[in-house]
Amino acid sequence: MEPDLALPAAKPGAPTARGLSARDSRSHSPTYDALRRLRRDHAAVAGAGFLIFMVLVSLLAPLIAPADPTATDLAQRLRPPGSPGHLLGTDELGRDLLSRLIWGGRISLAVGFTAVLAAMSAGVVLGLVSGYFGRWIDPLIMRCIDVLMAFPSLLLAIAVVASLGPGLGNAMLAVSIVGIPYYARIVRGSVLSLRNQEFVQAARVVGASHGRIIVRHILANSLAPLVVAATLDVGWMIMAAAGLSFLGLGAQPPTAEWGVMLSAGRQQIRNAPHLSIVPGAMIFLVVLALNFLGDGLRDAMDPRLKQ
């Protein structure tokens, strides 16, 4: 964030830079302005709308899914889309595809958001400690992060799953670990640029504790890049977790998860191609929506970046 937001935050107990400018009666808060700009971005609004729809569908899965996603019915196997009672048809074990998609969305979204939250929490703590305290701890943390970043992301996730064993929980942990360096670097960068700003020094002079300076002044001013990064990252995490499941290293059959469904659908590619096309299309749409929203958020929060 820009330091111009931050000038008068010197008094003990003074509101943060962000909070103060929000209360400045002559201008709107940066958040308000950003949201207003975001509202004018049609792609971002469409992305947000689709995501809200998907979250609602996922939350209401037990109520709206027409059938049990794991209930097999061999008499009804490989029904085409539009069959009576099965809007999107059935899979090789006669399970209702629509119900599996709805329940699968629940897993994919939960994995994406939880993994980002976990990676962000760990990354933020590491970045803050590394950037704020410096000395020996900064090079130590940064060298560990360099090592993690020396691996291509998906390879690192695969290595972690290879170590912990296949499974949805381990896949989620793996993609979270892969995300940590990303957030640690963003936060460390923000801390380094904010640490010596006047408002932080002023807070230090008036005796604010490290915790208070970190949370109220530094973290609050690092939020914008974090929010953008996290929005874009949820998409990557969803795709990576589905990819691990597709490889047989994440969620395991018969779980209704999009990557698992895609992998199983591949076996029926000749007589029922929709079994792999539809779950993949859902991953694609959710990730696309997140990318539209993430791009929109970035442009709205820092219009100078828009090109």
Partner: protein, 316 residues
């Protein structure tokens, strides 16, 4: 410059040690006893213990690590449990296959991505620019394993014009047959880097178009084509080189998924098969090989950037 190159290469040593340590520890943490897996479920406890001693598995981890690292450096990467053969020559052959795939994908990504980015920037906010930017976003939102399956359905099953799996047709060994097998996997792998390269080229070109030297070039009477080609593109491509280098990381990861979809016998397929069969030496070797090549590609990207951008001074 020489000082910078030496310094950059030396800085790799701690990273590479860290990478080997992490690869080693990841496999150490894996559940199951390698000696037990090698001998099978029916082996007696004394046989398993004897093999543990033979393999040095009874030693502390740091002794095992230094011994393993010594082996890695001297070319002894161990034997695959499942294939009963040396890991290094086997993986080297597999890696070569992956190399063909990644090089072709990169070539496709650059030949399509760079011109698309330049044209978009020159005609900013035109319909073509808007469409190509939406396509770009779609490009990197597409799960690579899904795109591969769609291409298999369209070009293999519906049109029947391209092979959908493997690296050669039975009984064939020519380059043309290899290239035909590479088209679909390379196209699949190229999509996301193509999108990112196009986007980066566009934004870099937009930056360059506004520079004073572009106005000067126009003012001295150069044609628009010359201005764009000689002054615009050449400067705009400098940051794109880094992005192209960064895509190596994506390619090395995405390659694993693409190889599974197309049953392409590269290092990714070997790695995943190894993980599912709990073939630790093979998996360890494959992860190490891919990670080390990523470190080397990053080094080359950094050095290439230093060579092509005259404004950057190194060695300090």
């Amino acid at each position: 410059m020489t000082a910078y190159v030496v310094q950059r290469i030396l800085s790799l040593i701690p990273v590479l040690i860290g990478v080997t340590l992490l690869v080693f520890l990841v496999m150490q943490l894996a559940p199951g006893d390698p000696a037990q897996i090698m001998l099978g479920a029916h082996a007696t406890e004394s046989d398993v213990n004897r093999l543990r001693v033979d393999l040095g598995l009874d030693q502390p981890w740091y002794v095992q690590y230094t011994r393993w690292l010594g082996g890695v450096i001297s070319g002894d990467w161990g034997r695959s449990i499942q294939l009963k053969r040396e890991v290094l020559p086997y993986l080297a052959g597999r890696f070569q296959n992956s190399g063909y795939l990644m090089l072709l994908a990169m070539a496709l990504a650059c030949t399509a991505g760079v011109p698309a980015g330049i044209i978009s920037a020159i005609r900013q906010y035109s319909l073509g620019d808007r469409i190509s930017m939406v396509l770009v976003l779609m490009g990197f939102s597409t799960p690579v394993f899904w795109l591969g399956i769609i291409l298999q359905i369209v070009f293999g099953l519906l049109l029947g014009i391209l092979p959908v799996s493997g690296i050669q047709s039975p009984g064939q060994s020519g380059t043309v047959d290899l290239l035909l097998h590479l088209i679909l996997p390379a196209l699949t792998l190229a999509t996301a880097p193509m999108a990112i390269i196009a986007r980066m080229t566009r934004s870099s070109m937009l930056e360059v178009i506004r520079q004073d030297y572009m106005r000067t070039a126009r003012a001295k009477g150069l044609t628009e084509r010359l201005v764009i080609n000689r002054h615009g593109v050449r400067n705009a491509l400098i940051p794109v080189v880094t992005v192209i280098g960064l895509q190596a990381g994506y390619l090395l990861g995405g390659d694993i998924l693409v190889e599974i979809v197309f049953s392409y016998p590269g290092i990714g397929l070997a790695m995943v098969t190894g993980i599912l069969a709990r073939d630790f030496p093979l998996v360890q070797g494959a992860i190490l090989m891919v990670a080390a090549s990523y470190v080397v590609v990053n080094l080359i990207t950094d050095l290439a950037y230093a060579f092509i951008d005259p404004r950057i001074h190194y060695g300090t």
